[in-house]
Chain length 229, copies 6
């Protein structure tokens, strides 16, 4: 059942660039509050951020052989999305693999497992989101697959899907929906810009969003605190 | 059972200012090792720190409607203390709500749930302690309550209680005990100052604290390591 | 069963210095992928790093009395390795104990429990790896032991073992194996240096490591993506 | 801060008996979906069930001295509700304490920590809900308190509150609300009885509860599956 | 984005019956060690077991409205597979919903969230696998979807996929692969039957499976224990 | 570093038999509250219980090859103690391995990982304590070791150590201390027998254990509840 799919479709560089200003929360909302990977996936250095086109890798537990194979399938603008076939926190990935990926223009790594050499990865500013940090070594004994659809941290990811990641987490957008989600992200951002200015000036969200009527209809009650408590 | 209590008592600005020099560990010890919220509550940026008067918010799971209501009850020196009625890691709070709170002089947020836009919150230096970081969107469908007593991360918090938070965690002090705990914190700090100087000079804690007799009475034994091991 | 063993053997200063360039991942691999403490042990400030000779401390849950005793057994180049006899996340250790240890030349702390005053510890650049951060105070009621073999975060540690810790975690090397593991670490580092240069130049790991034949033998298949997906 | 409060009020035997038919889910719903302890509290034997009047015990971590004190404050119809001042999974409670409590007519134990002798407790049919099962021994060194309000597994419990526990978990009802919640539980149970019969006969909940209009108003769409998938 | 897909394809009753003798471990191995849901999904009563055709339900956190809708789409031989759009341990499901499903011939429930009334569900012998047991009530405010592909406990499930569940966990088999996996399960079972008899007679697996040569080739070494240890 | 040590020493059948009446809590207390494995290790069927002589197995993550090797080293009265070199919840062990072990007189399994076929293991009454239940298959690619000292669930276990396990957990006793711990267990049991009778008759532990003076010395205060609360 092991296979390497070659020549998969990518998100176009134009789309990747256009997503650059948008954070994970914005994109997640813009596509109807879907696509978020589990919140135990965390960046290994604060401020990391990426937009990329997914190259997926299904790996055996504690065996990183397939990562070396996946590198060959990667190019500029890609992001490696790695999930083990059974849970593992071992350190699949470190400075040498990052050096190799960076040399090819790969923009980062999403891995539902462990990574190591995190100080060096931070120095290189190589963006990584992982489930664990662990120096635990892995073996190279068992095959997996590259560029098959897989579930990573609770979300289905196809090769060539759009990945956006930042300090808030990671969101996946299906390749076919990227343009539509881009437009919705832009619209949302414009709307928030106006709201932000009003809130900064001290207006209340209750008024900015016009919530008072709906709250009253739900039966909201106000009551003064007792004079002496 | 939903209600918004208005006009609750606050900790006075003088007391809030007087607590500024004291860390969570000091205040926790000064009130007899009580009042600490669970250690899974972590600051979203290193170095965050606050002293404030609690405005409490009881929220439904994955529904942040009540936060918008709570904002209206807040003023300078307040800190929002939020607990869901059943566990949720959703991202209840982000940059727009922080903008609104900051405009009103609110000093920070304690939330036993998730937050998002954490990079922006760090840039704004808006202090937040949360159970999770998650971009997960919330709905606005169900009411909760503002300024009722609630349990947040294992501690009972009343509106108007004193909250101190730093990199070590969060401690709550009952409003009626604030002056007494302040005096005890000052006393403890003075005592530690003297101890610190002696330890820095190389004296042992065993002697500084006079522990040797008590240890001997408990039956402590010393034994040299074998010559060859 | 409480005892303090005095005058235990140490790793020599020369060996400690010689290990300085090597990270945890390198040392762990160099001794055959063994010796790693559990990955829930994390540094309390990014960039912390140490090489030291273990002084072990077995402590009761939520009771830090033995830490004060352990200090007296410590000297330059030592690292305190602390494990509770039953799980506890209480804050056993803070700024005052760190001040005392630093005055004696101790290089850091490994503790399978909680610590506090983490902002101050970061300012002092005192390296600490812990299971939790918690301001929770401890008592001084029950004895434990110093310099007995103990299990810390899943690894057996003897007094006088070598400890290496960095952002990737913590590895223990038996005192008797330190020279051998040092040599293996140096060899591994030299080899990686060469690999790094080739990967940086864009060569693939598949070729650098000569993996293609073994992969083919395992039955690896390549398949082009369908023209239209 | 240690104290034993004697002679606290109890829930009357009539009220305790009247609650016997109602499960935790029913009581929790009947009081407006409040009062539920955290779901990590589990019965140590399947089928355990109790209704009792709370005797609260605040205990130090891994120290069970106060349990012996609490026994003296207990009588028929009481349930011990125990919470440690900082988290502990140690085995505070076993067969001997259960023997003592059973001799006094105490109906069970709720403890946010560990218990042991669980096979014997099951043989005795002594009901226990705990956070952990652990043989870990405890000490008798530090005082705590009996019959003070405390937070157990996320809920505030006062001495004399009503506790209902079964395979679904644990719910607390304030002493002053017991009669009102009893009436609401009875009403809910009657209503469910009628619903149960209709559902058993094959009617759909959509019709029994009259949900179709509200769903349509929310915009629910139906769509047939494609002929060939 | 809410939708109810009607008239989805099912696994045929013949296939469902044919899978009855096979456990989760067998089916999982027979389809190449894939398809297993996460191990935190546990049966609520020991000995529960089912084979069914999936009706999938995507639900909002702590909102069980869609379950009532899903019931209408269910028939004999179906199993409800439920996943929340963000994590929730609330009690979505209890005795009344089970009564309704049982009346329609539904064989059980798989839910990555909480359930309640577990004593009653056990008495009814209604099979349920869940992530949590919790009496926590849910609301009926927000729509979700029925019979869309979804990720449940880490596995992609399509409506009409085959689900096998027992005390070991849960495995999903794509509808199109069911016949092939059935044949492989039968073959595996036959082979194990023969092995079982030999092992029972005291033969060693090393010989039954013919492992000795491969082990020697890997470099396995035997060494007698020292005479005196 | 892989090795199989043959012909290791065992606990004598007489000692094993003599430990039969004693539970884990008793043995743990009798050896000074030491030797307990972590409480996440749970029996897979209620009422399981064993006393045995340890055969240790160090296994790679998700690779069960070494278990087959270990079987050959086992005999009557042995218990397999298995720990992975990095964390894994995979299902290393099932009915066939249990059949093989049972045929050789092995009394059970302790494994800090997953097992499967748990219904069959329960039917066979084969005692197993594990960290997880998972049908996840394992590979046979990498060597480990048999009968080397290892850390399992936080405790150091040597081949030939005594293992006692029951519903409360697992305790290890060093081979050399078995006779001494046996005597202490017998003494403790006798003492508890007398205490049990007095408690059953309604005497208070405060009096049976003579605690009142020590409590008063610690400063314990009693206070009647207010007349009206």
């Amino acid at each position: 059942m092991s296979i390497v799919i070659t020549g998969t479709k990518r998100i176009s560089p134009e789309i990747l660039r256009a997503f650059a200003p948008f954070g994970v929360a914005t994109v997640h909302e813009a596509q109807g509050r879907t696509g978020l990977l589990a919140s135990y996936m965390r960046p290994i250095w604060a401020g990391a951020r990426l937009v990329g086109s997914a190259v997926t890798v299904s790996v055996p537990p504690a065996d990183n052989w397939m990562l070396h194979l996946a590198v060959e399938q990667c190019g500029a603008g890609d992001v490696l999305v790695v999930a083990p076939t059974s849970p593992s926190d071992a350190g699949y990935f470190g400075e040498l693999l990052a050096t190799s990926l960076a040399a090819l223009g790969v923009v980062g790594l999403i891995i539902e497992a462990g990574v190591r050499d995190v100080a060096a990865l931070g120095d290189m500013k190589f963006p990584v989101w992982s489930k664990a940090i662990s120096a635990q070594g892995t073996v190279k004994e068992t095959l997996g697959s590259v560029n098959i659809p897989l579930v990573c941290a609770g979300q289905l990811v196809h090769p060539g899907d759009l990945i956006v990641a930042d300090d808030d987490g990671i969101v996946v957008v299906a390749r076919g929906s990227a343009s539509e989600v881009l437009a919705a992200s832009e619209a949302r951002e414009r709307k928030e810009e106006a709201t932000r200015a009003r809130l900064k000036a001290g207006e209340l969200g209750l008024d900015v969003y016009g919530m008072r009527e709906a709250l009253a209809k739900k039966g909201l009650k106000y009551q003064p605190a007792p004079a002496e408590d």
